[in-house]
């Protein structure tokens, strides 16, 4: 939230959702409103109504807890407020709200491993994990919210090789993490397959 130079206050109520836990027979849904159920704010709406500029809204590779069923991926939102004369004059800006799973990750069950915890940082500097962050920032600063991944369900070693390979192709997991979390055998024969997205 902030205040424009003209004195007009503004606030953006933005939801960011973590991944759902792995389920028996199915991976957790990525970045989804669960167990509650509300809709997000579209980037185009937020930017039309407020001075906020989004730099990114994407799923976080390797954030889902390893398991026979993988935990759903968390999402990363990076945003800034444009450094206009108006905004500079009217600072500071405040990011506040409620955040969960920043200190403790979502645990796995039945042998599944935990997901990656969430984090908030400003200009790449982490803020202390707290359930009620209240962060001051200035126009031009980059605020990055990373929501937690869901925990895995069942032992990672029991995951189907085809599922791990598909995850690799889609960039839901990186090959480094697969070797570490699922075992090098899962990478066999296909470690060099192009993942395409970042070429």
């Amino acid at each position: 939230m902030g205040c424009a130079a003209a004195g007009e206050p503004w606030a953006l109520h933005q939801h960011a959702f973590g991944g759902m836990g792995g389920r028996p027979g199915a991976d957790g849904l990525p970045a989804v409103s669960f167990p509650y159920n509300v809709r997000n704010v579209s980037v185009e709406w937020a930017e039309t109504e407020t001075p906020v500029l989004f730099l990114r809204r994407e799923l976080i590779a390797d954030s889902g807890g390893p398991g026979e069923s993988r935990g759903g991926l968390g999402e990363e939102l990076a945003l800034t407020v444009e450094r206009t004369a108006d905004q500079l004059a009217a600072s500071p800006l405040t990011l506040s709200g409620s955040a969960g799973r920043m200190l403790y990750p979502a645990e796995g069950v039945a042998g599944g491993r935990p997901g990656r915890p969430g984090s908030i940082d400003v200009n790449d500097k982490s803020i202390a994990p707290t359930s009620a962050p209240d962060v001051k920032f200035r126009p031009g600063d980059v605020v990055r919210l990373r929501t937690p991944g869901g925990g895995g369900h069942g032992p990672p070693g029991a995951r189907r090789v085809a599922a791990v390979q598909a995850d690799l192709h889609d960039g839901y997991v990186t090959s480094a993490a697969v070797g570490e979390q699922y075992g090098a055998s899962m990478l066999k024969g296909d470690a060099s397959a192009p993942t395409a997205r970042r070429d």
Binding site: F17, A26, P30, A31, N40, S42, E58, L59, A196, R197
Partner: protein, 282 residues
């Protein structure tokens, strides 16, 4: 003489209407090519109603070709270009679930249209007021299209950049690049397919459009050939999802509007026949 044809899963219905009244025939639909049933249906109605097909002045058509391509997941392999950092818009969606207490619910966003490996981020950015914050990385577009075509063998390209409905220049430039790199590749631009605010919904409609585009264009081409063969010179009019007809050329600009062509025609026909008191079972 006017002719209307609706293709269903089991039967293809042909209706001829003229000064002497209305006649209808039913022929079995073809599992392999819906157009084959049209040819059979036209021959049947010509015989049953003693029609000279070259005198047909109007040809109206409802089809579930696009609908079936989606339901059976037999649409095109689609590549999706999005603003860098927003490649996952199609997958993240609005994050709400339609069944709150269903723990085993499958994903509700249509990721099948363009799996993550076929979505590539392009460095470019247009702001909310339409001004260019970051110019289009044209070399990036070139590389992305080459990768999608050569490695992922895509058959159609969908392009949805943020705020393209305010300033379509980056999407338009992307199409020009695509035309140079892959001249045969069908392209759906969000600024033309559904130029409306809200990135997820616009991306969705554009990706659906790309998914059914090759199917619909192939189908309309074969339909045109059949009509020419039997001597029908009337232009093809197609039922759209919203219940109005459009020329085949208009449908090819935005094939996604034919997604509910068949059901919309059925509902309209039912309203005409049964006025307000009708229950339709399709």
């Amino acid at each position: 003489m006017q002719i209307a044809i609706d293709i269903g899963g089991t039967f293809t219905d042909v209706v001829a209407a003229g000064p002497t009244g209305m006649r209808a025939v039913k022929v079995p639909s073809s599992k392999t090519d819906p157009v084959a049933a049209i040819e059979a249906g036209l021959a049947a109605i010509a015989q049953a109603a003693d029609i000279d097909l070259t005198t047909v002045t109007r040809f109206v058509h409802g089809t579930t070709v696009a609908t079936n391509a989606v339901l059976t997941r037999r649409g095109a392999r689609v590549g999706l270009l999005a603003t860098a950092g927003f490649e996952d818009t199609l997958e993240i969606g609005r994050q709400k679930r339609s069944r709150m207490y269903d723990l085993l619910q499958p994903p509700e966003t249509p990721v099948f249209l363009a799996p993550r490996r076929q979505r590539i981020g392009i460095v470019e950015r247009v702001g909310a007021d339409g001004h260019v914050i970051e110019p289009l990385d044209q070399e990036g577009v070139r590389k992305a299209i080459r990768l999608l075509v050569e490695h992922h063998r895509i058959e159609a390209l969908a392009v949805c950049y943020l705020f393209s409905f305010r300033n379509p220049s980056h999407e338009q430039c992307t199409r020009e690049i695509a035309a140079a790199v892959a001249p045969q590749l069908p392209v759906s631009l969000s600024c033309e397919i559904d130029p409306q605010f809200r990135e997820y919904e616009r991306t969705c409609v554009t990706a659906f459009d790309a998914y059914v585009r090759p199917v619909m264009s192939g189908y309309l081409k074969r339909l045109g050939a059949v009509l020419a063969r039997v001597g029908i010179k009337a232009p093809v009019e197609m039922m759209q999802s919203r219940g109005a007809v459009a020329s085949a050329a208009r449908i090819l600009e935005r094939p996604v509007v034919s997604l509910l062509s068949g059901p919309a025609g059925g509902a309209l026909g039912g309203a005409v026949v049964g006025y307000a008191r009708v229950i339709l079972i399709a």
